[in-house]
C-alpha cells in the first residue's frame, strides 16, 4: 500500500542540531513552490547532497514545467549526507521530499536525474531510505513509478532493473507527458504492468521491463535489449527533442538557496547542443542539434532573473557558450545593463582562440583571475584523432593574447588514455605547458609570477561517442603515463593535477556494462558504497570486493574493446546519431582525419536532423 502523504518535518527537526550543514534540509527557499496541492505528485530526486543537486539546471527546468501544469505538483528531494541518513535509519524516518516533507514513498512518481555514472549507488541508497523496493520487479501495485533521465541515461542498463521507465532526451515536454500518462492510467485503475506499457507508448520513453537481454554472437558479453515477445514496444527508442528551444522559459532557476551551493549563481542556458564533434564527448553527440536563444532573450532574461533572485553572479551556460553566434553582442549588452551592480558574468568554457580570450576579457572587466583552456591532448596528431580542431598556433596565440590582456595564471585541461596515445603525446602535454609558460614570461617578464596549471583527466569511453568501442586505458598504464608526465614537468611554476585511476576505472566499468551490471551495483551498495563521486567517500576496495563477488573483474570490464560490428548494450536507446556515423568517425580518428562543425560548414551526416525531424537553429553566421 502507498505510504500516506503527510508532513514528517517534525521527525527531521530534532535531528538538525546533530548533523553537518542543517541548511541542507530546511526547504522554504525563496522561489520554491510551496503550494503542492497535486492531486498528482512528482518528486524529482538528485541523488546527492543538496549543495550538489540544487544547482542542476535539468531538475529546475522539470520542476517548473510540472508545477505549471494544472493538477500536477513537483517537489525536490536530495540525498541526506551520511550523518543524517544514519540518524534517519536509526529512528525509522523515511526519505522525505523538501517542500511538503512528505515520504518519498507517498508520491505518484519519482524522477531520478542520472547526472553521471557514479551516482548509481546513490540511487539505490535513495530508494532504500525511502522504503521503496530496489527493483521494478519487486515493487507493489501502488508503489510510486520510478522514472529516470539525464546525461547518463545513454547507458542506463546497469541501473535498468531499478527503473520503471527512462526518459530519453529533452525533458521539458516529456516529463509532463509521462506524468499525465501515469495520472490517467491510475485514474482508470489499471495495473502497474499496464501503466508501464502505456508509458512505453509515450515517445522517447524506454521501459526496461518490457525488453529482454539477448546475448548471442552478434553482441558483446553484455548482450542487447530486444522487445519482449508479445510486447508492442519500439526496437529502438529515439530521444525527445525540443526544436523551438527559444520558446522555452529562459530563466529556469527560480529557487534561491540559503546555503552556499557548488555553483552559487544564476545559470541561464543560452544554447543547447554542440556540433564541434569532439570524439570523446558524449554530450556533444547526445544533445544535438544546436539551438541558440536570440541575444535579446538572453539579455532580458538575465536582467529579469537577477532581479527576481538577488544573485550577484550569472553564468551563461551551455556546452560551448563562446560558439553562440551572438556571444559578443550578448556580453556587450549585458555589460551595459548590469553596470555598477556588482554583478559578475561568467562563461563556463573558453574557446581556444583569440575570440575566446576576447570574450573572457569582456566578462572579466578589470579583473584577471585565471583563464582556462582545454587543448585536451598534447600533440597535433592526437588532437586530430579526437577531433579537437585547434592547432598549436591557436593555443599559442590565445595564450599570448591572454597574457597581453593582463592574465597571469593559465589552466590547461588534458586527457590521458586517449586512443592511439603514445609517450610522445604525454610528454607533449608537458612541452605545451612549458611553451605557454614561456610565452607568459616573454610577455609579462620573468618576475611577473606567471603560472600554468594542468589538469589531466582519464578518458572514459562513453556510449554514443566514436570511442564507444574502445577499451579504457588500464589503471597501471594510466599511472605510468601520469608519472611520465610528472617527471617531464620541470618548472615549479607549472602545477599538475590528475584524476584518480581507480575512480575512472569504476566509471569506465559502469559506462560499458549491460543490464547484468546491476548485480555489481547492488553488491557495491551493499558494501557501503555511496557518494562514489566524492573523493573522500570513494572506496575502491569495496568496489573490487563487490566485483569479485559477482565474478567480474573491473579492469576486464572497463578495458575491453568491443568489435565495431557488435550490437552494443545501449543500441536500443538512441539520441538520433547514426551508428554508421559513429563508426565512420572512429575510422577517421584512427587515420587522424578531422571532421568539421556542421554549424560552420556543411552537414557531416550524423543523422540527428533527419531521424528527429529537427535542424540547427543558429541566430547569425558563426564566427
Amino acid at each position: 500500500m502507498r505510504a500516506r502523504r503527510e508532513s514528517l518535518f517534525h521527525l527531521i527537526e530534532p535531528l538538525l542540531g546533530s548533523v553537518e550543514h542543517p541548511a541542507r534540509y530546511l526547504d522554504h527557499e525563496w522561489g520554491s513552490c510551496q503550494e503542492q496541492d497535486g492531486p498528482f505528485h512528482l518528486a524529482m530526486v538528485y541523488a546527492d547532497v543538496y549543495e550538489v543537486g540544487q544547482p542542476n539546471l535539468g531538475v529546475a527546468i522539470l520542476y517548473n514545467q510540472v508545477n505549471a501544469q494544472e493538477g500536477m505538483s513537483c517537489e525536490r528531494c536530495y540525498l541526506p549526507w551520511k550523518d543524517m541518513a544514519d540518524l534517519m535509519r536509526e529512528r525509522g524516518v523515511p526519505l522525505l521530499s523538501l517542500e511538503a516533507a512528505a515520504p518519498l514513498a507517498s508520491f505518484d512518481a519519482i524522477g531520478f536525474t542520472l547526472a553521471h555514472e557514479l551516482i548509481a549507488t546513490n540511487v539505490l541508497e535513495a530508494l532504500d531510505l525511502a522504503g521503496i523496493a530496489l527493483t521494478s520487479a519487486e515493487r507493489d501495485e501502488d508503489d510510486p513509478i520510478i522514472l529516470a533521465g539525464g546525461p547518463s541515461a545513454w547507458n542506463c542498463e546497469p541501473l535498468a532493473p531499478a527503473l520503471d521507465a527512462v526518459l530519453l532526451g529533452d525533458g521539458e515536454e516529456h516529463i509532463v507527458d509521462a506524468c499525465a500518462c501515469i495520472r490517467d492510467a491510475r485514474a482508470e485503475g489499471v495495473s502497474r504492468a499496464e501503466i508501464l506499457r502505456r508509458l512505453a507508448r509515450v515517445p522517447g520513453t524506454y521501459v526496461p521491463s518490457l525488453y529482454d537481454v539477448v546475448v548471442d554472437e552478434t553482441t558483446t558479453r553484455w548482450g542487447r535489449a530486444v522487445p519482449r515477445a508479445g510486447e508492442d514496444v519500439p526496437a529502438t527508442v529515439l530521444k525527445r527533442c525540443v526544436q523551438d528551444f527559444a520558446a522555452t522559459p529562459a530563466v529556469a532557476q527560480r529557487i534561491v538557496p540559503y546555503m552556499g551551493i557548488v555553483q552559487d549563481r544564476l545559470s541561464l542556458e543560452v544554447l543547447r547542443g554542440c556540433a564541434r564533434g569532439c570524439r570523446f564527448c558524449q554530450a556533444g553527440m547526445t544533445y544535438r542539434p544546436v539551438r541558440e536563444r536570440p541575444a535579446e532573450q538572453v539579455v532580458s532574461a538575465s536582467v529579469e532573473g537577477l532581479l527576481a533572485s538577488g544573485h550577484n553572479e550569472i553564468s551563461l551556460t551551455s556546452l560551448s557558450t563562446t560558439d553562440h553566434s551572438q556571444c559578443a553582442r550578448i556580453l556587450r549588452e549585458l555589460d551595459g545593463a548590469l553596470e555598477g551592480r556588482g554583478i559578475r558574468v561568467s562563461i563556463p568554457s573558453q574557446r581556444l582562440d583569440s575570440f575566446g580570450v576576447e570574450m573572457a576579457a569582456a566578462v572579466a572587466g578589470g579583473k584577471r583571475g585565471g583563464l582556462t583552456f582545454a587543448p585536451e591532448a598534447g600533440s597535433q596528431r592526437l588532437r586530430d584523432v579526437i577531433n579537437k580542431n585547434v592547432s598549436e598556433q591557436d593555443l599559442e596565440s590565445a595564450a599570448r593574447n591572454a597574457f597581453e590582456m593582463g592574465w597571469r595564471r593559465c589552466k590547461l585541461y588534458f586527457m590521458i588514455g586517449l586512443p592511439t596515445e603514445t609517450d610522445e603525446d604525454v610528454v607533449g602535454i608537458a612541452r605545451m605547458a612549458e611553451r605557454v609558460l614561456e610565452i607568459g614570461r616573454e610577455v609579462c617578464g620573468r618576475r611577473a609570477g606567471v603560472s600554468v596549471s594542468i589538469s589531466v583527466a582519464v578518458l572514459v569511453p562513453k556510449a554514443y561517442t566514436p570511442f564507444q568501442w574502445v577499451g579504457q586505458c588500464r589503471p597501471e598504464e594510466v599511472r605510468r603515463r601520469q608519472q611520465l608526465l610528472l617527471s617531464e614537468v620541470r618548472d615549479r611554476a607549472i602545477r599538475v593535477s590528475y584524476h584518480d585511476a581507480d575512480v575512472s576505472l569504476v566509471e569506465g566499468a559502469l559506462s560499458k556494462m549491460g543490464r547484468a551490471g546491476f548485480e555489481l551495483l547492488r553488491a557495491a551498495w551493499g558494501r557501503g558504497c555511496r557518494f562514489d563521486a566524492w573523493t573522500s567517500e570513494f572506496d575502491f576496495d569495496a568496489w573490487r570486493s563487490a566485483a569479485e563477488a559477482c565474478g567480474l573483474d573491473l579492469e576486464d570490464v572497463a578495458c575491453e574493446d568491443f568489435p565495431l560490428s557488435a550490437a552494443l548494450p545501449w543500441d536500443h536507446t538512441s539520441p538520433g546519431v547514426d551508428k554508421g556515423y559513429l563508426q565512420r568517425e572512429w575510422l577517421r580518428a584512427t587515420r587522424g582525419e578531422t571532421t568539421p562543425d556542421c554549424t560552420r560548414a556543411s552537414c557531416t551526416g550524423c543523422g540527428v536532423c533527419p531521424s528527429l525531424g529537427v535542424h540547427n537553429v543558429v541566430q547569425e553566421v558563426r564566427a
Binding site: 542540531g17 542543517p22 555598477g340
Partner: protein
C-alpha cells in the same frame, strides 16, 4: 532595478564610505531558519537587498562586495527577534519605504521589523553590540529553576569555561561574559530562563555551552532539549544601555536604563 553605482568614475570622485547613507535594519530569525549558519545568512540577506532593489553601495575591492555589516553570529539552532545589519546606500530611501521593499523581498522567517538611518561614522555593529539577552527553555527530567540557577552559579565560580567546538578547544572568561540568569519553573522538568551575556575582547559566551556545563552540575539531570532565543542586543557602556536603533530609530530613544 535601482540606480547603479558608477563604476567608471575615478576613486576620488566617489563618495567617501562614511558619507554614504547607512541604513540599519532589525530583523528576526525564526522557525526552521534558526538552523541557517551565519555565512549562509549573510548571503541570503544580501540577496534580499538585491531583490528589494535598494540602491546599495558596492566596495572597490577585487570582489566588488556589497557594503554591509552584521551583528554578531547567532549559534546555529538559536532563533532571534533582534538581529541587525547596516547597509550603505548610494542614495537615501525613506526608511519606511526601504522596510516595505525589504519585507516584500525577504522570507517571512527573516522578516525585517524596523529600519532607520544611523551615523555613517558610528562603530561597527558586531563590536558595538556587546550585551545580549537570551530566553532559554530547558527540558531535563527533575530539573528545577533553583537547581539551574545554583548550577550556573557553581559554573561561574570556575572563572573560565573550557569546551570543545568541533575538534578545537575553546575557553571563555565567565567573569567578563556571563551577566546573570533568572530561571522560572514552567512544568515538572521544564524551566524557562532569561540569560544576559556580554561580548568583547574576552570572547562571547554561547548559551548552549553554559547550559550544558550547568546541567552537568545538576546531579542526575541530562538535557532532553533546549531552545535558545536571542531577544535583545544592546550597547552597554558605563552602566548605560543603548538599543541598536538608539536615538535614530522610530521608537523613543534610549537609554533604557
Amino acid at each position: 532595478m535601482s540606480r547603479p553605482q558608477p563604476t567608471g568614475a575615478r576613486p576620488q570622485d566617489l563618495p567617501v564610505k562614511a558619507d554614504l547613507a547607512r541604513l540599519r535594519v532589525e530583523y528576526g530569525k525564526s522557525e526552521r531558519l534558526a538552523y541557517l549558519g551565519h555565512l549562509d545568512l549573510i548571503a541570503t540577506v544580501e540577496r534580499c537587498i538585491r531583490r528589494a532593489g535598494l540602491p546599495f553601495s558596492v566596495g572597490n575591492g577585487f570582489a566588488r562586495r556589497m557594503r554591509i555589516q552584521f551583528s554578531s553570529a547567532l549559534p546555529v539552532g538559536a532563533s532571534s527577534s533582534c538581529e541587525y545589519f547596516d547597509v550603505r546606500l548610494t542614495e537615501r530611501v525613506e526608511p519606511g519605504e526601504a522596510l516595505r521593499l525589504l519585507r516584500a523581498a525577504t522570507p517571512s522567517a527573516l522578516a525585517p521589523s524596523r529600519a532607520c538611518y544611523v551615523d555613517g561614522r558610528a562603530p561597527a555593529l558586531e563590536a558595538w553590540l556587546n550585551r545580549a539577552t537570551w530566553e532559554l527553555r530547558c527540558e531535563a527530567p527533575g530539573l528545577t529553576a533553583a537547581a539551574l540557577e545554583g548550577a550556573v552559579g557553581r559554573v561561574r565560580e570556575r572563572g573560565t569555561l573550557t569546551y570543545l567546538r568541533g575538534e578545537r578547544e575553546k575557553r571563555v572568561d565567565l567573569a567578563a561574559t556571563l551577566g546573570g540568569i533568572e530561571a522560572r519553573d514552567v512544568a515538572p522538568g521544564v524551566v524557562d530562563a532569561t540569560l544576559v551575556t556580554r561580548s568583547g575582547p574576552a570572547g562571547a559566551l554561547r548559551p548552549r555551552v553554559l547550559l550544558d556545563a550547568a546541567i552537568a552540575e545538576v546531579v542526575g539531570a541530562s538535557l532532553a532539549s533546549a531552545r535558545v532565543r536571542r531577544v535583545a542586543q544592546e550597547h552597554e557602556e558605563d552602566g548605560l544601555i543603548v538599543e541598536p536603533l538608539g536615538p535614530f530609530g522610530p521608537q523613543p530613544p534610549a537609554p533604557l536604563s
